[in-house]
Symmetry: C2
Subunit: 180 residues, 2 copies
Amino acid sequence: MINFEESALNFLRQNIRDIPDFPKPGIIFKDITPLLKNPDTLNLTSRLLAKPFLNKNVDLIVGLESRGFLFGTTLAMDLHAGFVPIRKPNKLPGETVSATYQLEYGTDSVEIHADSIIKGNRVVIHDDLIATGGTASAATKLVEKLGGEVIGYSFILELTFLGGMKNLKEGALINTLLKY
Amino acid sequence: MINFEESALNFLRQNIRDIPDFPKPGIIFKDITPLLKNPDTLNLTSRLLAKPFLNKNVDLIVGLESRGFLFGTTLAMDLHAGFVPIRKPNKLPGETVSATYQLEYGTDSVEIHADSIIKGNRVVIHDDLIATGGTASAATKLVEKLGGEVIGYSFILELTFLGGMKNLKEGALINTLLKY
């Protein structure tokens, strides 16, 4: 017996495409563009991302540039929440706060508008993919710096072997649609 | 007398913020982040973007990286269309085709997945802003190269003094919410 949600997730999984050697040799990239192109999987993905957060009084979805913008806004609309972007340095026009995170070699940073969150806002952080969790952790710091409460995380894909979950806030509700 | 749509557009206009001297001195940047942060203007923007295209049998929304991703997917969902991203070079993982466009000094280019559009697909190109129309024109070329038909354009903002409209495909349906 397979239930509705399992069969929906299988349908999504069939619309994720493996691209070998991208962005560099030896890496198999999980491409979500087939899932976006199909109106049915586009809708289904958004609904499945929203499902665990319905009735959780989410004020804001914080989405990470740039693939986190794609379902960040649909998720916000499905939850009747607002949307706040986190971007790479010098992309946001207003006053920002920033956080730095570790890369394999070196560091990188991300920014959020300083006035984008009101103290006590209930926030869900969204990105297409969680790998090491470095950017999700930086996003958590930014939301908390502004007085927001990170109540959850939302990802389409998780690369489980990279152990990113350990970098997320303890006790938060984590919704990952597909694990690899 | 003011009608519903005019008052809705006025509401949106109040949620666009002027940022002086961004990205460089002398330029006043129109910031749409307040409009995203408010759940009501987020919803309203998406509905107003979709309105003229309801019942136009739109197959695909093509959205331009990265601010065109924000409402590109909500617009696709409202029209029960699919979504296809156009990105800066080397960001899309699959096989791509590219188009070059003129900047104030020099050129830039954008890419689309070569298999993203089926011959005869009815396409609406979406971005947050139309300025000179350079990227929208490059996007038109990409869609047509793949056999798609550009039936419309969708923008939140237009900087009318830059005359971008003349670079769009003649006869297409153009929906711009706010003109400056």
